[in-house]
């Protein structure tokens, strides 16, 4: 690989830029016109404007890769990163897609198929329907088997959209129609399925890596239960308060299943964990926002590995992956006290530093946070030898985090970190929504 098109923006674009540079690979930064002041554009070898204010223009992205002589495309996360058509367009134009194959993206993008596939491989999904539920009668029949509460989900969903929780029969019809309508509107396909709603579950995920030829390794677990409306806010590795042997067994099952489908590149299996059982939810076929906590406890650069694995075999075996200490990531968002976006000009930006502290961010004093995109402005990742020390370090680092000119969720993060339940590692995915109402 010689030259990579970065088909994303913000911190992940800078992240990709950095790993390419360290590998001696040239970069072409694709950018929307409103994003001209992004930090990674200063370090890229070439830059190409591909739109006014979005990163969804597949043709312009691929064309930019071709006209600048790139041989590969990195999609980052979000935007087109789980879009099988974009991946196929990249493949069809003779470029290397840094990620799985378009078939793998398509299969895992259909949550119903993904549930079936993993179920067949011995990974139990959350109890629920085995196929699309396309009428209220079938919905009622299924619910009579699994019992309330249930959740109606879009088959092609993501990002917390097209989801309805139903607590009793009176609400089923309305929720079913609403979920179908939202699925059709947002994802272009009204297919939905129904799962048991686990009301005291933790979100635990397994980071895996495959070479597309059956070799698969894992990088351990992450806990991402601190979510607001299905959006992760704080993540950590490894998942606390679960015995190592149970986590090891989970990772081994995940590796076996992913090996069976010949998966290529980075992927994440998301599980709900309740009453001692893990239930498969979905597989993300891309690098994730929270990957740095895994890097912190393993010492491996997952972006680098994505690039290396895109056009050659895995250079690592499971024995090369050692786990050490505890890491936490806080997502610093440009938002006000009411979770509304807070774009604007940054007048002061001073990041925390010191041993075990990492900040991944594209912002700097004088940068204007645009209103068109996601509110993530920085990821603060800290590592220490054990979880109590890591919590203290995160507290210290958050105090130092200075961003003025916009509002951020810093105080909200501090409140979560100070919460007894969080400190004890005894939270579930409803913790934050219950805390904030």
């Amino acid at each position: 690989m010689r030259k990579v098109l970065i088909a994303n923006r913000g911190e992940i674009a800078l992240r990709i830029q950095r790993s390419c540079r360290e590998l001696g690979i040239q970069t072409v930064a694709a950018y929307a016109a409103v994003d001209r002041e992004q930090l990674h554009l200063k370090f890229a070898d070439e830059i190409v404007c591909i739109s006014k204010n979005d990163y969804l223009c597949s043709e312009n992205l691929v064309s930019a890769a071709l006209t600048t002589g790139c041989d590969a495309v990195h999609p980052g996360y979000g935007f087109l990163s789980e879009n099988a058509e974009f991946c196929r367009l990249v493949e069809d134009n003779g470029l290397t897609y840094i990620g799985p194959t378009s078939e793998q993206i398509a299969e895992m993008g259909n949550k119903i198929l993904a549930r079936l596939a993993f179920s067949a491989l011995g990974i139990s999904p959350v109890p629920g329907s085995e196929e699309e539920i396309d009428n209220l009668h079938d919905a009622a029949t299924l619910v009579s088997q699994i019992g309330y509460p249930v959740v109606v989900k879009a088959a092609f969903g993501g990002g917390g959209r097209g989801i309805r929780i139903v607590n009793d029969e009176a609400k089923l019809e309305g929720a079913f129609s609403a979920a179908k309508a939202e699925a059709a509107a947002v994802f272009g396909d009204g297919a939905v399925y129904i799962e048991k709603f686990l009301d005291d579950a933790r979100h635990i995920e397994v980071q895996i890596f495959g070479d597309g030829k059956g070799a698969v390794i894992h990088f351990g677990t992450r806990e991402c239960s601190i979510q607001r409306r299905q959006q992760k806010v704080i993540e950590e590795a490894p998942a606390p308060n679960i015995s190592q042997s149970i986590l090891d067994a989970l990772c081994e099952r995940a590796v076996a299943a992913v090996a069976a489908i010949g998966y290529r590149n980075a992927g994440t299996l998301e599980f709900l964990y309740q009453d001692g059982e893990f239930y498969f939810v979905e597989m993300n076929t891309r690098i994730q926002v929270e990957h740095p906590v895994t890097e912190a406890i393993t010492g491996h650069d997952l972006l680098r590995l994505q690039i290396e694995t895109a056009d050659s075999n895995l250079s690592l075996t499971q024995n090369d992956i050692m786990f050490n200490g505890s890491a936490i990531e806080c997502r610093i968002n440009a938002e006000d006290d009411f979770y509304l976006p807070s774009p604007g000009l940054l007048t002061e930006v001073i990041f925390p530093g010191g041993v075990g502290v990492r900040v991944d961010s594209h912002i700097y004093a004088g940068y204007r946070v645009p209103h068109q995109f996601d509110s993530l402005v920085a990821k603060l990742i800290v590592w220490d030898r054990d979880r109590p020390r890591t919590l203290l370090k995160m507290k210290r680092a958050l105090e130092e985090m200075t961003i003025t000119g916009i509002e951020t969720n810093k105080v909200k993060l501090q409140n979560i970190l100070a919460h007894e339940k969080f400190r004890e590692g005894k939270v579930n995915i409803r913790f934050l929504d219950q805390l904030t109402g």
Partner: protein, 144 residues
Amino acid sequence: MDIRKVKKLIELMEESDLSEIEVKEGEDCVRISRQLGVQTPATPPTVVLPLETEKPAATPSAATSSRGQIVHAPMVGTFYQAPSPGSPPFFTVGDRIKVGDVLCIIESMKMLNQVKSEYAGTLEAVLVLNEQAVEFDQPLFTIV
């Protein structure tokens, strides 16, 4: 005026709180200004005055925009001024343009996309070179 000198001047300005720098060298003149209070030190200052910049063709567009119409690239790709290799260009400077005339072709992933004029007038300038890669919204022609 060496473009590196202009670049250096812009850097100097960005590092300072200046609102304007003007340099004359015999016939040559550069004036660089910015609005403080609106823009910030980190944002690059506006460069006014026609001078030779790195993308030679792109800058005149700014100068002529007040009196002409600019045709921008609607997509990313390779710019062709003629319908096929060896053919004469669709139009050359000075030609009359009607609304709907095909001005050029942009090749994007083996697809040849015609770019048609939304304006009528005289082709004043071609702002990119034949077979050059163009980015989204890049100025291609001015029509007056």
